[in-house]
Symmetry: C2
């Protein structure tokens, strides 16, 4: 068995690590492995854990791992580090604690980093989740550090999104959180033993009450947790599983997976189209002279790109049957 994809299907951690590295690096072997793994990757419950820096997400993930292991579930963790384009995937201090689980053969933990390309991190994380699901991890926890765009991506990737808040954050962070309220399926106020918890809960309940709720829709629960003591963590796990069951009963789990496949297909299609035509565009003599003119500000980049592509497009062939 020399094929890493085959070895992943038998639960090999080292091969999973290898394939995820290929995915991060944009190595073609990553795509080859994904083709093989994709049919086996549809059965994990992907749970996104998101919230502002300092909310104790890593400690909460650590506690969730212990809780899910206690239920004999195989767990995968992807810790997304958006700062890593610069820090080259350095492991954050808070995440060190989590590594105590890494000697458990039923737990796979990986920090996700990506160099360069925007949007690449969400894509790589989504693909890494396919790898972990194919390896047989029944739950995949995806933790993001950061505020903003990351939440959107996690929400698209996950079946269940947990939004973690914390008492006593400043106004600016609270305002930011308003944006992610709409993507949360489960809300947790972590560090619930800290002062200000009542206020935070009241504030969140007020904002949740403004969400449009249609009949038959999921009602997002709001829970209190103290990650470092484990308080509230079983209830948090229950809430996530209840949400998955809700999706399953309503046929939405399958729909979500179908939609995810469709999204990957469309994104790839765009990418491969760009690649195929871009290669031709870049070979053309017009490309070099237009690029020079753009750099010298003799032409604006919009007109330059349009003229090059329209010259290519008129020569394009017919659609295939």
């Amino acid at each position: 068995m020399s094929d890493p994809a085959e070895r992943i299907l038998t639960g090999c951690h080292a091969s999973a690590g290898q394939v995820i590295r290929w995915i991060e690096d944009g190595d073609r072997r990553g795509v080859a492995a994904l083709k093989h793994l994709y049919p086996h990757g549809g059965h994990a419950h992907v749970i996104g854990i998101t919230g502002p820096p300092g909310a104790g997400k890593s400690t909460l993930v650590d506690a969730l791992i212990a809780e899910l292991r206690g239920r004999a579930l195989r767990v995968g963790v992807l810790a997304v580090d958006p700062s890593s384009p610069f820090s080259q995937g350095a492991v954050l201090g808070d995440r060190v604690r989590m590594q105590r689980h890494s000697t458990d053969p039923q737990v796979f933990i990986r920090s996700m980093a990506t160099r360069g390309c925007l949007g690449g991190l969400a894509r790589a994380t989504s693909e890494a989740a396919v790898v972990l699901a194919a390896m047989g991890q029944q739950v995949v926890l995806v933790e993001t550090v950061g505020v903003g765009q990351d939440e959107v991506e996690v929400a698209e990737l996950a079946h269940t999104t947990v939004v973690v808040s914390v008492p006593g954050l400043g106004d600016e962070v609270q305002a930011l959180k308003a944006g992610i309220l709409e993507v949360g399926d489960v809300f947790a106020i972590n560090k619930a033993d800290h002062p200000g918890c009542e206020d935070t809960e009241k504030h969140l309940r007020g904002m949740l009450a403004m969400r449009a709720v249609e009949p038959g829709c999921w009602q997002p629960p709001l829970l209190r947790t103290v990650a470092h003591s484990g308080e509230g963590v079983p209830e948090l796990a229950d809430a996530c599983i209840a949400h998955r069951d809700f999706l399953g009963e309503a046929g939405r789990l399958e729909e979500a997976d179908a939609r995810r496949g469709e999204r990957v297909f469309r994104a790839l299609l765009g990418e491969l189209c760009a690649e195929a035509l871009l290669a031709r565009a870049e070979e053309s003599p017009a490309h070099a002279s237009l690029l020079g003119a753009v750099r010298a500000r003799e032409i604006d980049p919009y007109s330059a790109a349009e003229s090059l592509v329209s010259a290519l497009a008129v020569r394009g062939g017919d659609a295939p049957r």
Copy 2:
């Protein structure tokens, strides 16, 4: 004069707002205006202001506006709100203060939001900076809220990147900051009257000392500011201007602008290529059946997209001359 681009060149704020809205919405009229404005948009000093939530960036920007206005400079401000895909561009509380400058005809302030597309915010902000430069704003301040990927984008957009720190942030945020150290041209410890400033400064100096510095390179200064009293703000403005002068003397300002044009050209080219071929791909009967198979998990999305694009590509024409 019915053309908004023409009116922007004469300093019309309303037209600038209109064109920026088109840009955010992906309206074609935005591109048409940009083609017109681009040749006039190369002369502003774009300063990115970045750092973790709660560092007081908005207050610092507010103080910088006052300082730069005192030097008779025309100022544009783009406040980037990455949470806005959900919150629909809500103005954050801290940014309300800044609006006191909005009655000054020499100051233009805009919150940047974008719906949907990833990477769209950086692109729209970059294009809005072109609009403000063409309107005659001599300095454009670009403020981001958020930690992570946003910093990368601001650094690519700005001539000068100011990284704002603050005393007493938690470990997680400090670790995140390690990633953005490498993009900073000027470092400011804001709220320098708060306890813990010495420690933060020591910590930052230690990290900056590890940066590889080649002879003839810019040495990033580290300053203390108290934005709400204005302390240290003139020195911060001086440092930014000194950095721009450094870039100008070394010929790097021109090179940075040429690179920016090149980046826009390449990104557009990829986009237009994708668009041109994607339209053909989506029209083909093979597209519908492959999409159905992907949704039903009968084929993986990678193989599906590849087979569709390779069928299209072999029928493509020659490169234009």
